[in-house]
Subunit: 154 residues, 2 copies
Amino acid sequence: MDPITCTPIGHVRGGRTEPIDDDWDAVEATIELDGERFGPDVLAGLDAFSHIDVVFVFDRVDEAAVHLGARHPRNNPDWPAVGIFAQRAKVRPNRIGVTTCPLLGVDGLRLRVRGLDAIDGTPVLDIKPYLREFAPRGATTQPAWATELMAGYW
Amino acid sequence: MDPITCTPIGHVRGGRTEPIDDDWDAVEATIELDGERFGPDVLAGLDAFSHIDVVFVFDRVDEAAVHLGARHPRNNPDWPAVGIFAQRAKVRPNRIGVTTCPLLGVDGLRLRVRGLDAIDGTPVLDIKPYLREFAPRGATTQPAWATELMAGYW
């Protein structure tokens, strides 16, 4: 597989400094875009959207820790062992996170967000406006363990 | 900004061979994971989810075509000129796409999906189960142009 090189468009500033499993909606942070590459034009019109999708890299995860066998989410033996692509854990190939969060404001190259589950200094690869048409088409189903895991997440 | 190197976990096989703007829900395709790195364990339990998030690279976009000024989506002058991070166009820095689509089935290292807006051969960087808790928290708003653009997308 040919590698693909990405360049962060900016970084998360503020918010948590340590990854903690739960209560992310209590956290506000700023995404600061790279002022050497971008002008405020790249964000023109974004403030008409209430939410954004943020694509980021769990860069504090040691790539050697990425686990490919099935495992119990959060090491909870009450939940089934599932593969890394059947969970959203951060110890995953390419260490990419994707989260939709409320956009609180845009000021120049800085975006204020709430509930972004990425810590201070996290590299950001992309920002997209959330369009309701990108919600799942059709009813969704998920296993009970996933619902239990998420109970305190936000 | 320090670059980040990703290695595709697999590729889209089948579906469209040319990017076309609309009617993506008519398209079925397969995602084939890299059998040299992964065993079927990485997908264990995924079939309990109805939908997945697919993170992929618009690799047929020439990086030199990535446009950083505000522009009219689909060059439609009836819609406002907006920045690249205020739209989901593929000519974007890092050329990353993220789409939630129905998972039709899992067979070994192959996933059948519907409505993935990525063409045959597209490199895939990540697959995540769609959890309904990752839907936007709070009501969403978006500008009229975005709703109009999406009218025929799926």
